[in-house]
Amino acid sequence: MLRALAGPGARRRRRLLAGGGILAVAATAVAVLAGTSAARSAASPIKIGILSTCQGPFAPFYPETTAGARTALIQLTGAKPKGSGATSPVVGAKIGGHPIQLVYGCSNAQPDNALKEARRLVEQVKVNILLGPLSGDEGIAISNYSKKQPGTTFVNGTSAAQDTTLHVRSPNFFRFTTDGAQWMAGLGTYAYKTLGWKNAVVIGDDYSFPYTQAAGFVAEFCSLGGNITKRIWPPLGTKDYSGFITQIPKSGVDGFMMAVGGTGTVAFVKDFSGLAGNVSKKMVGGSVTIDPTAVSALGDRLDGVVAGEPIPAGATGAAWQKYAKAITKYYPKVSPNSLFTAGYYDEMWGIVLGLKKVNGDISGGGKKFRAALAKVAWSSPHGPVKLDANRNAIADNFIVQVTSGGGFKTLRDIKNVDQTFGGHFSPSTPAPGRNSPACVHGNAPSWAK
């Protein structure tokens, strides 16, 4: 450049450069002005980051989560899907004139990893709304992180640890799905009354979500008079569960509640059937145990297994069918009968309803938007959804059975389960853990009586 300037004809070039410089300044000024005026004229985009797990033990659920979120956006904003891949784009989504931009983040179910992705999306990509994460420990990390980012709105994915909302209670973290304990509503009753169990064992992955699931099961099963003989916690990502399965006492146990999720479900059930035969009647499932990805991978080995879930998998009602048909229409490879599909669908639904209430106005760090979001309530494919004071959902819960041929049958619908679980949990009760809550008889929740 210097050499070019020094050569013949340099003056002309310099003039040209000066002209270019002026042009550049002018262009920048125009752009800046355009930018500010765009914000005022309500045409600036709203960036939504979708954080889910594309690696690690829950990677099988990645396509379900992104399909759920995008289907809600398509249905509510009239957007059009381009392709049916796990991250293929959705075009033409607009709310109040603001185009909606989707950005994807990927974690591996570990909280440090999810936090790193959330930071990237919030601090570098500068999303206005972060939808996610998928897994329990990740959710606790992100809801804590959200307190440090008051200008961003965080909406949960499907992470379902109890702490995330009940104990952390971040003012800008919203969860339109229920927690892992709420997902167990009705299962303790099924085990105690229908299966006639008196003594049960709990086996689950060793982290916050299975602790929360166990908390719901233990609270209800024990309130009716049942006893928990043992609680076994294999580490997440265990390859061979034999050494954990053999820890189930050989006598005096009627069955076990199993909350080993993701790739662990398939490994666990195969190992169990190798050592002790068919699982049905001996096992009731955590919510993720009967995810369609596990059921289709395991063939008939899960036939007859009953689990608690926040969705009426396989239901024939009009609302559920409408949702299921939409998912299948836009993303034919994804099953609508997964709580991950439905969970991300619900969360996106909540976001869009909130945005519509304020006509897409997320100015001032989204304060107005969050005030509207806290009041959002609607009739979802699985019944009414609304938020409690800690911004955690109050919604129906279901007892679902796997039928032969890989289908689902909903056995029971429990209305409006809230996070206190019939008075068993509150911000002052200890967080669910390896040995908490204790097994206490009496004080059965209303649906268990």
Binding site: Q55, P60, P63, P235, Q247, S251, K270, G299
Partner: protein, 342 residues
């Protein structure tokens, strides 16, 4: 070596042996201390030990390929886990499309992955011969690319390969029969897992025969000791390298095709099994086949014995024992049990 170092070394070795003896004594006490009846510890000991052997066999098949490639070429193939997963997916695909029977599916997947590995070696690694860091970085990059390509093509869903009908189901061992409870009936173990243990033994014997009795084996053994000298003698070391890469990759593919039956095929398993292979060969010593066998046995048994025999409240820490094993072995034998300084 000064006497100080020697004493420190033998003190470390003694401590290691002491811990090992204590662990085995503890397992023995828990397993046999309550007698040999159906209510004693023996039935569970048989269950977890057989499971551990299956796992050890699988780890050996995968790690032996890893260690063979490293031994001859000093290539730390960080894409080995991807080759494992590719073998598993290939076996699954052959079965899904019903091209061939299960057995041929395993053979074809093994060959396919071997071929894939050989091509990878020719295209990306051959011209970087001797540049160990560069090769490791190239294979890490390839591992990411393969992982994402497999996720894009096979999707996130979990799969497993169905064994042939004759091997589906459990072997009834006819001993330690329970009348009630969750484990009602006699002691059982899946037929296929016996096959997997057998396959690992066959692979081990096959590798021993190849390494001790064939010209190729001689070249490999020579190459492990002094690669430069072997090629100076006029041996076509490039052909030997290519063959070693083929066999090493094929073993990863075979491991995947077998594991597809009794474990789970899903994204992310590639990284997991690379880690297992690394642990096995670091414990056993890079480049040593006997070391891979011992390392695989140690890892497999620790992974299944630990949850069963650690005191109740500690069983969720079983995963840490794997790393304690690494710490112990490396502190006493920095190059692994059978490893040598290069």
């Amino acid at each position: 070596m000064t006497w100080r170092v020697r004493i420190a070394d033998s003190a470390g070795a003694a401590a290691g042996l002491l811990v090992l003896a204590f662990a085995l004594a503890w397992v023995g006490y828990k397993a046999f201390g309550a007698g040999f009846g159906v209510n004693g510890g023996v039935p569970d000991w048989i269950r977890v030990t057989l499971s551990g052997l299956t796992l050890a066999g699988l780890y050996f098949v995968i790690a032996s390929g890893f260690t063979l490639i490293f031994g001859l070429m000093r290539v730390v193939n960080m894409a080995h886990g991807s080759l494992y997963l590719l073998g598993a997916y290939a076996a699954f695909e052959f079965q899904q499309h019903q091209f061939v029977s299960w057995g041929w599916g395993v053979v074809l997947s093994t060959l396919l992955v071997g071929f894939f590995g050989a091509v990878m070696h020719q295209l990306f690694l051959r011209w970087n011969q001797g540049q160990e860091l560069r090769q490791a970085l190239i294979t890490i990059a390839l591992a990411f690319i393969f992982g994402d390509q497999m996720l894009a093509y096979f999707g996130g869903a979990q799969h497993y390969v169905r064994p042939p009908d004759a091997l589906e189901g459990n072997a009834d061992l006819g001993i330690f029969c329970n009348t009630g409870g969750i484990f009602a009936g006699c002691l059982t173990f899946p037929w296929f897992r016996f096959v997997a243990i057998g396959a690992a033994v066959v692979v081990a014997l096959g590798l021993v025969v190849v390494l001790k009795k064939t010209r190729f084996g001689m070249i490999v053994r020579g190459g492990v000791d002094d690669g430069a000298m072997v090629s100076a003698l006029g041996v076509n070391i490039q052909a030997a390298n290519a063959l070693a890469f083929f066999i090493g990759s094929a073993l990863a593919g075979l491991g995947g095709a077998l594991a597809g039956v009794f474990l789970v095929i899903a994204p992310g398993e590639d990284a997991d099994f690379l880690l297992k292979a690394l642990v096995v060969v670091i414990v056993g010593g890079m480049g040593s086949l006997g070391g891979a066998a011992l390392g695989a046995l140690a890892l497999g048994m620790i992974e299944t014995w630990a949850p069963q025999y650690l005191p109740g409240a500690w069983s969720n820490y079983s995963i840490l024992l794997t790393f304690l094993l690494l710490v112990f072995v490396l502190s006493v034998r920095p190059f692994g049990l059978f490893g040598r300084a290069t």
